[in-house]
């Protein structure tokens, strides 16, 4: 395996064999170790991706640990960082990398030939799915694990990559028969910066099955931005999921063993809205 360490964007050329970007390594390294990702070339992008906070602009290389103690960023983002993973992981994991982490669906992590892998069935739907999605779960019932992504969606953040600018919501797509990917990032495209708007108030509430080091059973980010109230959820759909109101959850389609997530999500949404109103 080859490791490249470009020091500026001009040097950043993706190898033709589909090499893999790596920053903190908290996701890529375990996937490589488990044989879920194969790459002849790793491209360490720490020399390329900006790191640090400048007003509303956050370098995508900023670690979660740096963000969780930063008073200048909105509460929702800070809390999402603080409540994610463990201190060791937050010290290594970057903001950009966090947005791109794969699902924790155990079938996917155990390399079952599921729909996300191009297969023709969702093993979780028929099998063990108590941690899975309650929304948009028809094709694939995986739940998106990123607290930070839900926070950024609620905050109305925009991303700058080496090729374009886009609202964070447009980074994500639901997998379908024709295209199994959950992000719109192209090969060789790299998230460089996150741009936050002026935020009046925000919050992130997270339910876990222990107090720390747990992906969200349901995470709710809510924000008041430019007079608008925005809500986004983690852990309830294959991608970060935006809703307009708590009533929107009435349209949920829980699986037999994920019904419990619905009252949980409702309670958290109500609390989050009350907190920012």
């Amino acid at each position: 395996m080859e490791l490249l360490r470009p020091s500026d964007l001009a040097e950043l050329a993706m190898p033709s064999d589909g090499g893999t970007f790596v920053h903190g390594g908290t996701e890529v390294v375990p996937l490589l170790r488990d044989g879920l990702l194969s790459a002849e070339t790793l491209v360490d992008v720490r020399g390329v991706v900006p790191r640090g906070i400048d007003g509303g602009t956050i370098g995508a290389g900023t670690t979660l640990a740096e963000l969780e103690v930063e008073p200048a960023i909105p509460d929702a983002l800070r809390e999402a960082c603080r409540l994610a993973a463990s201190p060791q992981l937050r010290n290594m994991g970057s903001l950009g990398g966090n947005l791109l982490q794969a699902t924790r669906c155990w079938y996917w992590r155990l390399d079952y030939p599921c729909r996300l892998r191009g297969g023709d069935r969702c093993h979780a739907r028929e099998g063990e799915h108590r941690e899975h999605a309650i929304l948009a779960n028809d094709f694939c019932a995986s739940a998106h694990p990123s607290d930070v992504a839900a926070a950024l969606v609620a905050l109305g953040a925009r991303l700058r990559t080496n090729r374009r600018e886009l609202p964070v919501e447009e980074l994500y797509r639901l997998p379908d028969e024709a295209d199994r990917r959950t992000t719109t990032l192209e090969d060789g495209e790299l998230i460089l910066e996150v741009e936050l708007p002026e935020v009046e108030a925000s919050i992130y509430l997270k339910a876990m099955d222990r107090k720390r080091w747990s992906f969200p059973q349901a995470g709710v980010a809510a924000a008041r931005v430019g007079g608008e109230t925005r809500i986004a959820l983690a852990g309830v759909a294959p991608v970060p999921w935006r809703i307009d109101s708590v009533e929107a959850l009435d349209a949920a389609t829980p699986l037999p063993r994920t019904e419990w997530k619905l009252p949980l999500a409702r309670a958290l949404v109500r609390r989050a809205l009350a907190a920012i109103s």
Partner: protein
């Protein structure tokens, strides 16, 4: 003098009749209460070595020329090897040998669970070994799979014959009872998750097999390996200097040891076979799931007149049918008790003993049922327990029982419930619950120790026992120091090698201290008597300091030896306790927070109060994981373990640990050995689940019936309680 006796031997609640040669135990017990060293808090003897990384665990051992083994495991829950080809593995770089089914004990053609060991390879590196194991070509014949334990019971597919027990007339008593409660409780499969995975390194030194292994039972490994490999026992040397946890799962050698031994034989090199964390989550044993269908009947004055239980243990492909019914038979003075216990043979990974096997699960069911009974009788749960206090074990006298002292010490904690409840608000409901503990923990013979005193006035305790992380070195040193009247820092303990000391007990069934402690004391007493003889000959007082008596010995040594005497004949030796737990429940999100645990245990004399409180804290933390967050999940189609990592299998973090208060009755059991100490490894994990569940009921009115009490189970129970309330008020129940 040695004496041959036929005695009942108990480990983990399993009894067998054995012949043993026991030596008399002529020493009088020490007086009750803290002594000079014993009964005083002592920090770990090996603390510095452990935190500096100097303590050598099996996982640290790298022998010259050592190869690494990997095991090929069945991808199917039930299948037979039709054809296997090891050649592709042997052709890979670094591969030195490969074994197919039948070529090492534990590698079998018929795989009864997903993860069953089938073949193995040894290579220069672990990575090479893994690649080679994956390259083995197997053609499988898939067989009929049963994963559901109730289905196994219907098919009468058992690991052993169902176990029936009855005293009195349960049907009649239930018919005559003023109040009857009935409930079904389910407990999940949980994993031991020792920090050090199961592993062994085997090395042939001539005709002697050296086995370095992470184990709870050095002498059991020696015996099993010798028997299986048809070697004289003295040709098997077993070493376990430091050990990274076992919790009952490391009592036997298992496939990894035999794989290492056979591969070492074939390659002429030492071979290490260490399970990965994922293998640990699959094939290293578990606390099996249970289904408990229970009934209790009582008179309106609170006398429990009938207990009736049908218990199904989802044992797995192999394993034993643990005594889940034990608490129902033993905890209360009830004339009419009937139990049946099924050991369902299912195509899931086999159970292994896990810290009070059966009793942890059975106490959850029974002690929740008793609180449901108390609610129906409108009686204080502590008062109900006192009214049904048992003074014997089903008619057998007890060597000692101070559960009433535990209840008395629990009163101040129990009294807090009014204040705790009053701190509830619209979202967070608070409450207090309790549960009692009953378990074994008396240990037994044989066990031996030697004590050596040199002219420098230092003593060394020598015994070929293991310290599984429970502070054994410290406790043994304290006992010897007390008997020798030496300061603790002048006593060392040498253990961990079958070639360097006498036979020692298993460290399971809470037996280390009650089995080994009396032998160490006897050895120290033997040495002390010799020191006193020398003192007398030197014209010194009998109690002159040891170092002054022996200072002219030069190279001569004082050698003492001691043995564990018999258990009291015709008596049950049991441990007792009670936990009082305070919880807060978020009734909207189902979050359960354990805020405070008061644990009071009656385990005879406490040798090291600091070590004892650590044991209690560890048991409670492990029990909180069992109660709230841990569950091994299988894919219902393939039987494969889904929670194969520490991320998906959720043990408590330090943030989940509540305030824990430990109290001990600390009365020596006057019938039990020269020490009067019972074991404490298991008791603290026994009552915690029921105490938490009962606190949840106190806080919310909801009856939880399943472990873990996940948000799903908590929200279900809250919904059910709400519907019950509505029904009571005459409104139609919510659907």
């Amino acid at each position: 003098m040695a004496r041959l006796i036929r005695t009942e031997k108990e480990v983990e609640g399993r009894y067998e009749e054995v012949w043993v040669v026991v030596e008399e135990d002529p020493l009088e017990q020490w007086p009750e209460g803290p002594l000079t060293v014993v009964g005083r808090p002592a920090p770990r003897k090996s603390g510095f070595e452990r935190v500096r990384g100097e303590a050598r665990y099996t996982a640290d051992i790298r022998l010259p020329g050592m190869l690494q083994a990997a095991i090929l495991r069945s991808p199917h829950a039930h299948a037979r090897v039709k054809r296997i080809d090891l050649a592709p593995a042997l052709a890979l770089p670094g591969v030195r040998a490969a074994l197919g089914p039948g070529e090492a004990h534990g590698l079998e053609e018929e795989a009864g669970f997903s993860g069953a060991p089938v073949a193995a390879v040894a290579a220069d590196t672990f990575r090479q070994a893994l690649a080679a194991a994956a390259a083995i070509d197997v053609e499988w014949e898939e067989l009929d799979v049963v994963l559901d334990p109730d289905e196994a019971v219907r098919r009468e597919q058992f690991t052993a014959d169902p176990r029936h027990y009855e005293r009195g007339d349960v049907d009649k008593a239930l018919a005559q009872a003023d109040v009857v409660v009935e409930a079904t409780y389910r407990t999940q499969t949980v994993l031991h998750n020792s920090m050090e995975t199961h592993q062994a390194i085997c090395e042939w030194a001539g005709d002697v097999l050296n086995v370095y292994i992470s184990t709870q039972f050095i002498w059991g490994i020696r015996e099993s390996v010798a028997e299986t490999l048809e070697l004289p026992q003295d040709k098997v040397r077993v070493v376990c200097e430091y050990m990274g946890g076992g919790f009952g799962s490391k009592n036997s050698p298992d496939e990894y040891t035999y794989v290492a031994a056979e591969l070492a034989k074939r390659t002429g090199r030492p071979v290490r076979c260490a399970l990965t964390r994922r293998e640990e989550h699959t094939a290293a044993g578990n606390r099996n799931a249970t289904i408990q269908r229970l009934r209790a009947g009582a008179r309106s004055d609170g006398t429990i007149v009938a207990l009736d239980g049908e218990f199904t243990n989802a044992v797995g492909w192999s394993g034993w049918n643990a005594s889940t019914e034990g608490p129902m038979k033993m905890l209360y003075d009830c004339e009419n008790v009937r139990t049946v216990t099924f050991g369902a043979k299912v195509n899931t990974p086999p159970m292994k003993a896990f810290r009070a096997p059966g009793f942890v699960e059975g106490t959850f069911g029974l002690e929740c049922l008793v609180d449901e009974l108390a609610a129906k009788l409108d009686m204080d749960p502590l008062e109900l327990r006192r009214r049904n206090y048992a003074t014997t074990n089903d008619g057998t006298p007890l060597s000692s029982k101070n559960l009433e002292d535990c209840y008395r010490l629990a009163e101040p904690h129990w009294e807090r419930r009014h204040e705790v409840r009053s701190r509830s608000d619209a979202i967070w409901k608070r409450g207090v619950g309790m549960a009692s503990q009953i378990w074994y923990g008396g240990g037994g013979p044989p066990s031996y120790a030697w004590v050596r005193i040199g002219s420098d006035g230092r003593a060394t305790v020598i015994t070929a026992m293991q310290d599984i992380g429970t502070g054994t070195r410290t406790a043994m040193a304290q006992i010897a120091a007390e008997e020798l009247r030496l300061p603790l820092d002048r006593v060392d303990v040498v253990l961990g090698d079958s070639a360097r000391g006498p036979y020692a007990s298993i460290s399971a069934g809470s037996s280390t201290l009650p089995s080994m402690g009396p032998a160490v004391r006897a050895a120290a007493a033997d040495a002390r008597e010799q020191v006193e003889d020398i003192a007398e000959q030197r014209g010194m007082p009998k109690d002159a300091p040891v170092e002054e008596v022996v200072d002219l010995l030069e190279d001569a040594q004082i050698l003492g030896k001691g043995a564990r005497g018999p258990n009291p004949a015709g008596m049950s030796v049991l441990t007792f306790g009670v936990h009082v737990v305070e919880v807060a429940v978020d009734v909207e999100t189902g979050e359960v927070v354990v805020e405070r645990v008061a644990a009071i245990h009656d385990v005879g004399r406490i040798v090291n109060p600091l070590g004892a409180s650590s044991q209690v804290e560890g048991g409670i933390i492990q029990g909180i994981g069992h109660t709230l967050s841990e569950e091994r999940l299988l894919d219902p189609e393939t039987g494969r373990v889904l929670t194969s990592t520490l991320e998906s299998y959720r043990m408590p973090t330090i943030a989940d640990v509540p305030e824990i208060l430990c109290e001990f009755v600390d009365k020596p059991d006057t019938q039990l050995t020269n020490l009067g100490s019972k074991g404490l490894g298991e008791p603290p994990i026994v009552p915690i689940a029921a105490a938490i569940a009962n606190a949840i009921r106190d806080a919310t009115g909801a009856d939880v019936h399943e472990l873990p009490i996940s948000r799903e189970e908590m929200l279900r129970a809250l919904r059910e309680a709400e519907a019950r309330q509505k029904e009571k008020r005459g409104a139609p129940a919510a659907v």
